[in-house]
């Protein structure tokens, strides 16, 4: 300790101050917009652009939230979003579990090519699929239905879900199921009784990814639905925005309410989120 010269200590202190200045500037860039959204969601609409702007003013109230939550059309957007996102999550998870299991534990002639197609379709831009999807959904009478959006999002989330699930099963030792096989267990009971119970972390990652994509999607929700009783939250926010003279406070309140599910899931499952998404982005 005594060997530290005072200049080294000073340099260290300067570096530390510099770091905290940098961190604070970064936090303002990242956090201020969110703080402003939050504060605006509690203001009276007439005070949104008050001069000079204040973070919280005398009009602070829950009224904007009450307005959103007492409007049946807007509640409907939330109900629709929950129905669709939860259904997609259940279906994608089920299908990805079975497919991932097969990819991980079976060898069969067409495996490689199917795998390449599943990886490849992830690169297809949504806008490319939009025009044929519109025709297909109208043709199948799925236009403006829950089922239409559910099947759309299942197809969009399935490739990555299969890749993640396969990777997860690959990480489990083969001895687990081989021992059961020797005992005469069927492939179904190996999957559901032996692999699934130890695959919860992988399933959580897949489920979170799927829910988030379905909850947040906008382009297809906009194009494949028509009436208010089938619109989802991201589209609903834009509809509210387009309505009579900009109800900024209600738009912000609805944005906050619409972001809560993802925020809550993130807070509970942070580890899975970051692990799953980062690993998938870098390794898939």
């Amino acid at each position: 300790m005594s060997s530290f010269s005072s200049s080294a200590v000073r340099r260290r202190v300067t570096a530390r101050i510099g770091l905290y200045i940098g961190l604070t500037l970064g936090a303002v860039f990242a956090g201020f917009p969110v703080l402003w959204m939050l504060s605006s969601s509690f203001k009276a609409n007439s005070n949104i652009f008050a001069y000079p702007p204040k973070l919280f003013d005398s009009s602070f109230s829950l009224a904007p939230y009450m307005a959103v939550l007492s409007n049946p059309v807007e509640i409907g957007y939330f109900v629709n979003s929950y129905i669709i996102a939860l259904s997609v999550t259940a279906v994608t998870l089920l299908v990805a579990l079975i497919t991932g299991y097969v990819f991980s534990r079976y060898e069969f002639p067409l495996k490689r090519i199917i795998n390449v197609v599943i990886i490849g379709v992830q690169a297809v831009p949504p806008i490319t699929l939009l025009i044929p999807f519109f025709g297909i959904m109208v043709g199948l009478k799925l236009y403006n239905t829950y089922q239409g959006l559910i099947i759309t999002y299942v197809v969009f989330t399935l490739p990555y879900a299969v890749i993640m699930m396969t990777a997860y099963f690959d990480s489990l030792p083969k001895e687990l199921d081989e021992a059961a096989k020797v005992d005469g267990a069927s492939s179904q009971s190996i999957l559901w009784r032996i692999l699934v119970p130890v695959s919860v972390p992988g399933m959580v990652s897949v489920g979170l990814y799927t829910f988030m994509i379905s909850w947040n999607e906008y382009l297809f929700a906009l194009t494949l639905t028509q009436t208010d009783d089938r619109r989802t939250v991201p589209v609903g926010i834009q509809l509210l925005m387009g309505q009579n003279n900009y109800l900024w406070n209600e738009v912000m309140a609805m944005s906050i309410l619409g972001s809560i599910p993802v925020l809550v899931l993130f807070l509970i499952f942070q580890r899975y989120f970051i692990g799953g998404l980062a690993a998938g982005a870098v390794k898939s």
Binding site: P132, S259, A281
Partner: protein
């Protein structure tokens, strides 16, 4: 685990095993196909078939609106590639993408390095980390309305800039021809950097600390250590993330649609909004399909680089 049992690996199986494989009953051999059939059918029907449809549409005239469209070959491609509006959209997409990806990389590295700093205690680190991840929670539709509020002529950003004297008068950032593209790019930078940062943070933890020690011994300063130890360690992640980000950013629709709608006067028109308008505003489905196929081709080029990169990584 049964450590006493040494199991032969897949590639050193006794010769009799493939034989037995051959004699398995058909039902058992079909089992994997049966089990993956939902995935295969879904992807075939709603990924592969639509791609074929959109390519066919791009080679025909007046599809969807005309009950008997004619095959016109490459005519639509020639028509669209001579449209100045198409090239303007392509140019905007390029600027938007390059600007976003470059800024995502710089901010991602910077924030990840700050968060990884050894001089910080656990609690402040966790707090800053949570704040830095925040923008990632919000979907493009929310990000769009939020920034419309912030960037409004009477909004808080204009207030701050005019009160410190950077601006003389408020600027309607999203409605001004000269600033709209910059504004949407900044919005996209804000909403997209956390994903980079998170991956880089994971990557930083993988850079061996003895390399830093060795560099320190050799008398390398912090900047030198960053250039010759940190950066090379992060290069594979940076490269992969940049390609993925490029893929996503060129496809960005919602953010543009919900902020400027491509305006003012086409200054923020991207290939995605251009294609969407061709189809659903002017009902030129053939032209829209042509544009959509061009976007697909561009995406595939980036995707091929990405897959190649992953292969190389996997082999190492």
């Amino acid at each position: 685990m049964t450590t006493s049992l040494v199991k032969p690996g897949r590639d050193q199986r006794p010769a009799s095993v493939p034989d037995r494989h051959h004699h398995r009953p058909i039902r058992q051999r079909l089992e994997p196909y049966l089990l993956i059939s939902p995935t295969v059918l879904l992807i075939l029907a709603l990924m592969v078939v639509p791609i074929v449809i959109v390519i066919v549409y791009s080679l025909m005239d007046n599809v969807v609106t005309d009950p008997s469209p004619k095959f016109v070959g490459a005519a639509n491609y020639l028509a669209i590639l001579t449209k100045p509006a198409f090239w303007a959209a392509a140019g905007n997409t390029l600027i938007f993408t390059v600007g976003s990806v470059a800024a995502h990389m710089v901010i991602g590295v910077l924030f990840a390095l700050m968060l990884n700093s050894k001089t910080m205690a656990r609690v402040p680190r966790a707090i800053f980390r949570a704040i830095y991840i925040l923008p990632w929670i919000f979907t493009a539709s929310v990000v769009a309305v939020l920034w419309r509020l912030l960037l409004d002529p009477s909004g808080v950003i204009n207030y701050l800039l005019t009160s410190v004297g950077v601006l003389h008068e408020a600027v309607p950032w999203l409605a001004t021809e000269a600033t709209a593209l910059l504004a949407v790019t900044v919005i996209n930078i804000w909403s997209g950097y956390p994903f980079f940062m998170i991956s880089l943070l994971a990557g930083l933890q993988g850079v061996p600390s003895d390399l830093y020690e060795a560099a320190k011994m050799d008398g390398a300063g912090p900047f030198r250590r960053f250039v010759s130890v940190t950066l090379p360690g992060l290069k594979p992640i940076l490269y992969s993330m940049a390609l993925l980000d490029m893929l996503w950013t060129t496809q960005q629709f919602t953010l543009i649609w919900a902020t400027t709608g491509g305006g003012p006067l086409g200054r923020t028109e991207m290939l995605s909004t251009f294609t969407y308008k061709l189809a659903f505003n002017s009902y030129e489905f053939s032209m829209a399909s042509t544009s959509a196929v061009i976007v697909l081709a561009a995406s595939l080029v980036v995707a091929i680089f990405y897959v190649r990169r992953q292969r190389k990584e996997a082999q190492r």
